[in-house]
């Protein structure tokens, strides 16, 4: 079984600036949920609150609750480090560790968590994760080469392999294709379709066509002006959001009238 996420009255701040206001939504397990909306609407910030990465930025804080499998990740006594082991993340820009080989990059999470791993198990994890990320055939002969020797699209798939090597329940993807060419984007979309079988995937994207292609549900966010917080406008099945949205703002946005 995979994991559902319940977001309840969530507010996120950078210092005194409120980036996200009063968001509540439930994300179903084993599905792909897309967050869309204009720049600055807080969708990336919201995503980062789900695995407590938001608070890494100095001055950033959160109120409200995010429950993963019924357990509030913001409850006292919850360790953000353990939260992130269950809720993985892929970033906008591919960020493989430059000091590590391709193989070591995949194993980085496991090793950084200080889990013991035999050589054989390691090989197993590397192959399984790279296959899952659709990268195995391209790199199987050069696992010892530095991760930064790969192309941008390959690096991003390496980062996905690295994220799933630690076997999270949820995978958060923050505009994973925005720095990539169309071919790499397609490869990653294919791969996400496969991930849906086992993971709860949440993806932030600027690309509405992408959201329409890959996601089961779509949440649309907007802002009412500069320095205003982002808010949730509409959250529904992707087909509904794109064909018969209930809000005018959503209709305008998906029709390309603003944003």
């Amino acid at each position: 079984m995979s994991t559902a996420i319940d977001i309840t009255s969530l507010n996120a701040y950078y210092g005194s600036f409120q980036a996200v206001a009063d968001v509540s939504l439930t994300i179903a397990p084993r599905s792909i949920t897309a967050f869309i909306g204009p720049s600055g609407c807080g969708k990336s910030t919201l995503l980062r609150t789900l695995n407590r990465m938001h608070e890494v930025i100095p001055g950033a804080r959160v109120t409200g609750s995010v429950s993963v499998d019924g357990e509030d990740v913001y409850a006292t006594g919850v360790d953000p480090v353990l939260v992130r082991q269950r809720v993985g993340m892929v970033f906008q820009r591919p960020n493989p560790f430059p000091t590590m080989s391709i193989r070591d990059n995949v194993l980085a999470g496991v090793r950084l968590q200080r889990r013991r791993l035999s050589r054989h198990d390691g090989d197993d994890v590397v192959e399984r994760s790279l296959r899952a990320a659709g990268l195995w055939d391209e790199v199987r002969d050069r696992l010892g080469k530095p991760g930064s020797s790969l192309s941008g699209g390959q690096q991003q798939r390496l980062c996905i392999a690295r994220a799933i090597a630690i076997e999270p329940d949820v995978l958060l993807m923050d505009e994973p294709c925005s720095a990539l060419d169309p071919i790499s984007t397609l490869a990653i979309e294919d791969l996400m379709a496969g991930l849906r079988a086992s993971y709860t995937v949440v993806i932030v994207t600027h690309n509405m066509a992408q959201a329409a292609r890959i996601s089961d549900k779509t949440a649309f966010f907007t802002i009412d002006g500069a320095r205003k917080p982002g808010r949730l406008v509409e959250y529904d099945d992707t087909t509904t959001v794109f064909t018969s949205p209930s809000q005018q703002a959503t209709a305008d946005y998906v029709a390309g009238r603003f944003g």
């Binding site: 480090v81 820009r93 000091t99 950084l112 968590q113 530095p146």
Partner: protein
């Protein structure tokens, strides 16, 4: 193009030409002055290098590298005791200052917030400007408090040199740690890595080539220090393997000693001084060059 057109315009021709000639003359003069200033800066370097080579080679022999000055009056003798002292004191300085310097840089980059961090940054700046002789006086006051006045030891020298080296290490390490992209820290956190392991396994290794290169330049700088050692490590003619007691000579102090306490055979002392100077210059240059090499060869390939 525009200038040519102006040249053809009869009323403007004369003035434009003279103005242009004056401006061009100023430009030529400036070019010459700047070229000459550059050459001028290199003249002392050339003279110094030539002297060190021509005079230093006189005693660049096995005797020089295998003997101390113990019991030597006049010609002969060597700088083995000074090479040993340089090695020991430099080693002790590295051991004292590198861990403190890197840890302080980690504090400033990864942990430091608020007034205390700002104070430390400011103090590192202040420390960078401490004259080396003042560092020597400080080491003297500390050691004389414990061991009584007149105490001399290699360790006191290392303490003085550490005071000069720590701000160096902090500065370069801080710079290198800040160059590590936040992307990498976030990537590690997102993998469920505690902060200390992120620093130890991701941030430090990524910055390491730069830090090592910076430390090497720091070593090159302190290895030529003379004044503080003159105060607290003193002069010696003999081998001293013990950092914790008795006087200990380093190569720069050896040079000073050869000049300061000349015997009647002046040339023998001068030759030894220049040979030691040649060794010291060569060592410092090798350190500088290899630090560049380390920075380039071992740098992680970030985009």
């Amino acid at each position: 193009m525009a200038v040519i057109v102006l040249d053809r315009a009869p009323t403007l021709t004369l003035t434009t030409r003279t103005v242009r000639r004056g401006r061009r003359a100023a430009n030529t003069a400036a070019t010459w002055v700047i070229g000459v200033l550059f050459i001028l800066a290199l003249v002392p370097l050339a003279s110094l290098a030539w002297t060190a080579f021509s005079r230093g080679l006189a005693r660049f022999d096995t005797d020089f590298l295998t003997n101390s000055m113990r019991g030597v009056v006049g010609a002969g003798g060597g700088a083995l005791h000074a090479v040993l002292g340089t090695g020991l004191i430099t080693g002790a300085t590295i051991a004292l200052s590198v861990p403190v310097g890197i840890a302080a840089a980690i504090y400033l980059v990864e942990y430091g917030r608020g007034a205390f961090a700002r104070t430390v940054t400011f103090l590192v700046d202040v420390m960078t400007g401490i004259p080396s002789i003042v560092a020597g006086l400080f080491a003297y006051t500390v050691f004389s408090l414990v061991l009584g006045p007149g105490a001399r030891s290699g360790l006191a020298g290392a303490l003085a040199l550490s005071l000069l080296m720590i701000p160096n290490v902090v500065r370069t390490s801080e710079e290198m740690l800040r160059l590590v992209p936040d992307d990498l820290r976030e990537a590690a956190y997102a993998l469920g890595t505690p902060k200390y392991r992120t620093i130890g396994k991701i941030v430090l290794p990524t910055a390491m080539s730069g830090i090592v290169s910076g430390v090497m330049i720091g070593v090159a700088r302190i290895v030529g220090e003379t004044a503080p050692l003159l105060l607290v490590a003193g002069y010696s003619d003999a081998m001293n393997y013990n950092l914790f007691s008795e006087r200990m000579t380093t190569l720069p102090v050896f040079i000073y000693q050869q000049w300061k306490f000349k015997g009647t055979d002046v040339a023998a002392y001068d030759d030894r001084a220049w040979t030691a100077a040649l060794m010291l210059i060569a060592f410092v240059l090798v350190l500088n060059l290899s630090s560049r090499l380390v920075a380039r060869v071992f740098a992680p390939k970030t985009r």
